[in-house]
Symmetry: C2
Subunit: 143 residues, 2 copies
């Protein structure tokens, strides 16, 4: 049997987006943050809510526009918000946690973006400093 669809319940929202961003976790999910302070970095999964429509979710190739000189590539070869499932992931520095609100540095998400998940950053699983990437990803912002 091939499973075709899944359902997400958003666990929070980007309350403020800037160099330091505020991510508020809804109170019913807040106890899931226990001990997150033991990690210096977290991976945030969020929903590109402005791209959650048929046109953007049918896009399969893009010219990454924030990267001058980028060729047309598949959406799975880019971090474009236009993709079949409009999920963004971002590695951020965890600055502090106050009650249910995280202050993070380096979150590339718009204000009001729904939050899907928070995961601890684990260097031995997640860090590959010498991974190979094409030249165009070095121009413009990190993603």
């Amino acid at each position: 049997m091939v499973i075709k669809e899944g359902k997400l319940r958003f666990i929070g929202v980007v309350e403020h987006a800037d160099e330091l961003s505020k991510v508020r976790i809804h109170s019913e999910f807040c106890s899931g943050l226990k001990s997150l302070n033991d990690f210096s970095h977290v991976i945030i999964l969020y929903w590109f809510h402005l791209r959650d429509n048929k046109k953007e979710r049918s896009t399969l190739q893009v010219v990454p526009r924030r990267h001058p000189g980028a060729p047309q590539v598949g959406v799975f070869s880019s971090r474009s918000p236009s993709r079949p499932n409009p999920i963004g992931i971002c590695v951020t520095e965890l600055v502090k946690i106050e009650e249910c609100t995280l202050t993070v540095k380096g979150l590339d998400a718009l204000e009001s973006s729904p939050i899907i998940d928070i995961k601890p950053y684990i260097p031995r699983a997640d860090s590959v400093p010498d991974a190979r990437a094409p030249g165009w990803v070095l121009c413009g912002p990190p993603t």
Copy 2:
């Protein structure tokens, strides 16, 4: 307005899970793989389909069982498959692409897991070799 839910359409499936795993992208999404070969590593987002039930999705704290000595922590401080949105992410080495099938090394997903997204691994955004993590994550498997 707070957006509460989102809908996923799965783009592929884990066809074989081992040291080298095979991930088949459904044909209608296959053109999204253009130029993925330019990257040595990819981030795979998949669905923990066996945990997609009310009990597992209500779990907010766990004792990570593959990590001896781990304390009880919030699910957002762990990579546990029991969590509100059963999404796994895994950084894998891209060994080869044949038509719509990726061969990858290091995928920690069960056979038949639906695939949600593929993203290129970009070291300057994704690699933080010196991120701090508590001692218990060093025992057992990487995640």
